[in-house]
Amino acid sequence: MTARNLLLGLLAVLIAAPAVIGAYPLAVLILVLHYAYLGIAWNVMMGFAGLLSLGHALYVGLGAYVAAALYASFGLPALLGAIPAAIVATLAGLGIGALGFRFRVNGVYFALLTIAFAEFTRILFDHMGWTGGSSGFFLPVEHGQLNPIALRGPPVLFYYVALVMTAGAFVLARSLMRSRLGYAWLAIREDPDSAAASGVDVFRARMAAVAVSSALTSLGGVFYAFYYNNMYPEQIFSMARSIEIILAPIIGGLGTLFGPVLGSFVLTLLGEGTTGLLEHFGWAAPGAKQVIYGLALLVIVMVQPAGLWPWLAKRLRIGRDG
């Protein structure tokens, strides 16, 4: 079995899935794809370039708010609104990157910087009147509407949008990884001094990683806004969301292409499965999902620190670049 066949098989199953599954499994799969997508985006920074961001909720939130506000105020369709959304998020990312990399804020300290920016943006939006402040921002919903350009339609539309986004991000990440820039990122991740001595412009390559990652992440935010139709600064910019974004790639395998996708499948299904099971027995256990996520992370870190995918790939005898 080759990586390509495995992927194409999975893609075929996912394309066909809505025809056979009900509304709830479809909603779960949308979540799986959404977090797989965000995981791929985050992995470009951490997995490829070795830059730990713990504030990726910032880009989700900026993307969501910019596209939603432009739609609500000017009727700008989501597909067009995604462009300014990505620009705003990328500029924010580049600003944080420039600060961090110019002043040699590395490793954990860089991560703290990303948290700080996400947090104070949350507080900013909490107090910003025209986007509803802390009481949230809502998109008008009309039932029976179908307009793919504006991302208005039934869940199945969002399912296919999420699928296209995830597949697109995967292909982009794959081609980046095999490019000149990809080699520069991996070199920097392994040893910045050696990378520089090998002719890699460390600052520029890092900035490129931030730009790609923040732009992709913001598009996930646009999706979030139009799928849920509501956003609260408290939730969308929260530290908890930033953590949720990074779990799938860590569990699936940092720096691998398929890791974030596999991680998202495992985590989301575990989380939803547990919640469903508890509900079935009539136990309301808020936070059960977080406990499951925590346990999953613990097990992975102890048993397979490199992640599920490298382990599975070896079992299936798939090339390491799959």
Binding site: R180, L186, A187, A197, S198, G199
Partner: protein, 242 residues
């Protein structure tokens, strides 16, 4: 001596008042092999770091083929044509041997496929051809030293800076590396500046030797003359040779 490829003039660097390198001036001719020797702490590696852009000199100038490269960043220096190895080897541990060298080769190649091709050729030259798919972290120290040389060589340098690449090698391995480097120098006219304690390699490779002690140059000349220099025997060689 041929026309100078590298000229260092009055290079100085202090760390908290300690003058690690103090007004060092020398030049390396086109196609020459110059060895820099001296006791530990003499300022040899600092000298390298000043030339390779890992540190900025407090004073002095570095010129490569007549162009000033003083104070440029390490990656700019690399692209200008100076390849370097690190004394404490710094492989990209998580990457394969081939990918390690491909990173360097991308400097001299138009695209990734060409860089891989180039990396393969360099690895073959350094007897690492059969280990290209292994992760760099699994290599033995002698192989890591060779990998370090391969990565620097793959960048397509005019001048190669080698920082104690013979250390930790067995005499036969050392002789083999000397042979490879001498071959590169002879065939391709590669200019080499090396820091080395292994006198066996220095005497075979170097056309000239520069001796540093306490950050200052105390002798310079042909290998035969330098190893008889009383100042050198007193401060460095004597400690081991006599």
């Amino acid at each position: 001596m041929a026309e100078a490829l590298l000229t260092a003039t009055g290079l100085s660097k202090s760390f908290r008042g300690l003058k690690a390198v103090n007004g060092v001036s020398f030049s390396v001719g086109q196609g020459e092999i110059l060895a820099m020797i001296g006791p530990n702490g003499a300022g040899k590696t600092t000298c390298f770091n000043l030339i390779a852009g890992a540190m900025r000199p407090d004073a002095g100038e570095v010129r490569l083929a007549g162009q000033s490269v003083t104070g440029l960043r390490a990656d700019q220096i690399c692209r200008a044509g100076i390849g370097r190895t690190f004394q404490l080897v710094k492989p990209f541990a998580g990457l394969s041997v081939l990918d390690n060298v491909t990173v360097g080769a991308l400097n001299a190649a138009r695209h990734v496929a060409e860089a891989k091709e180039r990396a393969r050729a360099v690895l073959d030259l350094l007897d690492l051809g059969r280990k290209i798919d292994e992760p760099a972290s699994s290599l033995t120290l002698p192989d890591r030293k060779r990998l370090e040389v391969a990565r620097a060589l793959a960048t397509g340098p005019k001048l190669l800076l080698l920082d104690e690449v013979m250390a930790g090698l067995r005499p036969t391995e050392c002789d083999r590396l000397v042979e490879i480097l001498a071959g590169l120098n002879r065939r391709d006219g590669l200019t080499i500046l090396l820091i080395e304690h292994v006198m066996r390699a220095v005497m075979k490779l170097a056309q000239r030797i520069l001796v540093l002690h306490h950050g200052e140059q105390i002798a310079e000349g042909s290998p035969e003359a330098v190893v008889r220099d009383p100042a050198v025997l007193d401060s460095y060689l004597g400690e081991e040779a006599l």
